[in-house]
Amino acid sequence: MSSERVARRFFLTASLAAGGGLLLGYSIGSDSGLNKVFAAANPENAPSVTDIPLNAWVRIAPNDEVTLISSQSEMGQGVMTTLPAVLAEELGADWSRVKIEFSTVAPAYRNPRINWQFTGNSESTTGFFELLRSMGASAREMLIAAAAKRWSVPAGELYADSGRIIHRPTKRFLKFGDLAEDAARITPSQNPGLKAQSDWKLLGKSLPRVELKSKLNGTAIFGLDFIVPGMVYAAVMQSPVHGGDVSSFDKNSVINLSGVIDVVPVPNGVAVVANQYWQARQALRSLKVSFAGGASSEISSESLDKQYRAALAGDSWKTVKSEGDALREADIRGKFSDLYSQQYESQFMAHATMEPMNCTAHVTDDSCIVWGPLQGPELAKLTLSGMFKLPPERVTINRTLLGGGFGRRLLVDFVVQAAVISKAVGKPVKVIWSREEDMQHDVYRPATLHRITAGLDKAGKPLAIAHQLVSPSVLQYVYPPAVTDDNDPTCLEGLMETHYELPSQRVDFKLLKVGVPTSVLRTTGYGPNIFAVESFIDELAGKAKQDPYEFRRSLLKDERSLKVLEALADKSDWKRKPGKGVARGLAYTEAFRTHIAHAVELSVNNNLVKIHRITCVIDCGIALDPEITRNSIEGGTVWGLGVAFKSNITFKNGRTVESNFHDYQIAQMDETPPIEVHIVNSSTKGLGGTGEVGPVTLVPAVANAIFAATGKRYRSLPLSRHGLRLAAVG
């Protein structure tokens, strides 16, 4: 079944876990009306009629203004700058004058790898780089062809620069605006010539973010800020017990309160609608409502823990990888000089984007328009089209900036809410979740439980590694076609391939069905898996009485891996003995196609962990914008500190316990030590993602450093459960 067909028609079945009724049960129809090369005109945001599209990505106005389309959502990872810069580089546009516009939902804007339009999984750059180079180059060639025709000169004598097509011999030029109409009539070539990397003027440099200024003076529009005339607001309360529903509510208890317009049921909850959000929020406090049910009402962190452990101890594993002879049988005892086995655990976590969930929608009998901070606009479009039985071209999805995404905004529950409420009240509605609602109705990064077993030779070198993983699904609500009854490929990230030379490898997986909602969260499968793997490798190094760096080095042959690891040892002064009471730990992996390694230098006193210095080396192919890359990895490193030490979601009586930042804790400035990020460039053929790779090696590097400092090995996160705390460093 082609991925295209699958993407166009799939069903979210009710057999998936409870805890998200509003995510399930909608059949998603086909989108056959969208096979257009040019951008589908967005009626709310129509470009000027005189703007000329050269293709779906480049529009040129007669006044010479170049508009570049950003298919990807901007949530701090800088895609709104870097990907249009790819277009501009090939096009030869004047970067100082380009306008950036978010795209509509259309096949032209789908990530080519899975033919689906979304922003996530650190795939924006890797997914679109080659496509955008071609699109920019193609548009450039159309402009050049138009100029060649007008001047009757060979195209080879022309080049593009700063928004002009220039005739090399005579230096005469034509502006893009003068050529656009003619250019649009040229048939674009199938294989446009790409600019040589050595000629890059924009890429490989650090460009100021296009939206930076708006983020410095309060004019940046996030979903929460967006206004449409006639808009009203909704405050939502969903069943506190996961999977439960409203059993009754009394509209009369609030309808007479100031500003209140209506009380509307939404999936698993109820919304108070008012003229202003404050009024809706206040009224919601007074609403008489009762909830009931939820198969999950007995669930607690303890019951989940029991469920995970029973799964790990049980049978019926799905073998997803088996290489080499030694692990053919499940029981590998007796085949090696020594066996070593350990268990590792990662915790449930909340996305806790700084901007809480929100969305604006206006639904009428024959149209549906949405404005919001979305990562999954195609899923939103198809869901709403199916729900309201509207042809897809009558559903318009507009995107604002996102105050953080981390995978949460790939889902469409908050979008559906806004649409349902708008339909009910007949006006544009913005739904805003309070922080408490957001924290307690997140779709969480699930906990994972691992058992890793190695067969070792006499010197302690691993000849075989078997990894057993117990994890709930993460992709189930975000991209259902990839998830089956017993498998979810995202859960296995980091386990299916490794650069460590291991003759035998085996991965057994148990897809656990739990009664709390789970989904992708920054680092997806890599985060928990590499915490386990890089802790385990470190333990093997200790067992073999080898330096952790030398041990890893001896297991690697890949050039890029070695280069990154060696650079890390160099930049972190790994070989120099640390000061008294100071210890170091490191970790290396390839995740999201990027090679990354972290070294952490710290001291531990009375369970207080003071981090002195963090060093990171990454090879993401080519850092198209080094400053954005560095900022992203620094930020990911800080995120990782929270994952390692503090962030934890727990459950009791079917409810999430944590509700705000006082009890769901994240990293803070005074715990942030100096972080150095070093970029190793290799080649554009090896482009990798950077948005979520930072935490992946930071977390095990911390655990490894703590072992080096104390001799104690911690195998479950967060470290706060072992009494460890981050000390202030400033």
């Binding site: 406090r285 509700s659 705000n660 930042f661 006082h662 009890d663 804790q665 803070q668 005074d670 202030a728």
Partner: protein, 206 residues
């Protein structure tokens, strides 16, 4: 003449000493046992989290039933007890409590004449010079500290009674907002025990 002067000087010295302390001057003879007993009653309130949290031993205000630092916030008393720079107490604490749990509590300011000013918050620690630490104090230590003008901010007995009777920050302890317990006595009982301690001569537990 000399005898009169010396007797007079002694009386002056004695009464000066009496006026300089917090002990209420009363025509009744001291009842040390009663004073000590009354202080022990008041001590239960002084050592309750609602009081201890703003009379901490360290440089940071405390919160909660278990008197912990404010999660994540690096708060400092500052020279005048109002906090410093971006994290002054009244940057978060307002002139009244908020509806709902985990919200910063508040109390109104008091104007010179004694009227309440509910547009301005009053929330602070004692100053750095006179930190008025309750946390960790034994009854004996606290009693002596409360009566020592160099440690109690120069308060007389009248001032002290006025403070516990009317200061919005004290009264707040009995209206602390959702999720916070009240001291184990009613406010009027607490005031009465402070009065009884001072009226009976202000003797301290040993």
């Amino acid at each position: 003449m000399r005898t009169t002067i010396s007797i007079g000087a002694c009386l002056l010295a004695i009464s000066a000493a009496l006026y300089a302390t917090v002990r209420r001057v009363s025509s009744e003879p001291n009842d040390d046992a009663a004073a000590r007993a009354a202080f022990m009653v008041a001590y239960q309130v002084f050592m309750h989290p609602r009081c201890v949290n703003c009379h901490p031993a360290g440089d940071s205000p405390l919160r909660g039933e278990d008197s912990q630092p404010h999660t994540g916030l690096r708060l400092r008393r500052g020279p005048d007890g109002q906090g410093v720079f971006t994290l002054k107490c009244t940057n978060c604490h307002q002139s009244q409590n908020h509806v709902g749990p985990h919200m910063p509590p508040g109390a109104p300011n008091v104007l010179a004449g004694g009227a309440l000013d509910s547009t301005t918050p009053r929330w602070h620690l004692p100053s750095a010079k006179t930190p008025m630490i309750f946390q960790g104090r034994s009854a004996a230590q606290l009693c002596r500290q409360l009566e020592d003008p160099s440690q109690n901010g120069g308060l007389t007995a009248e001032h002290l009674i006025h403070h516990v009777s009317t200061d919005p920050l004290v009264l707040w302890a009995w209206n602390p907002g959702e999720g916070r317990t009240r001291p184990p006595l009613r406010h009027d009982e607490f005031v009465a025990s402070v009065k009884a301690w001072l009226d009976n001569g202000g003797a301290c537990p040993k």
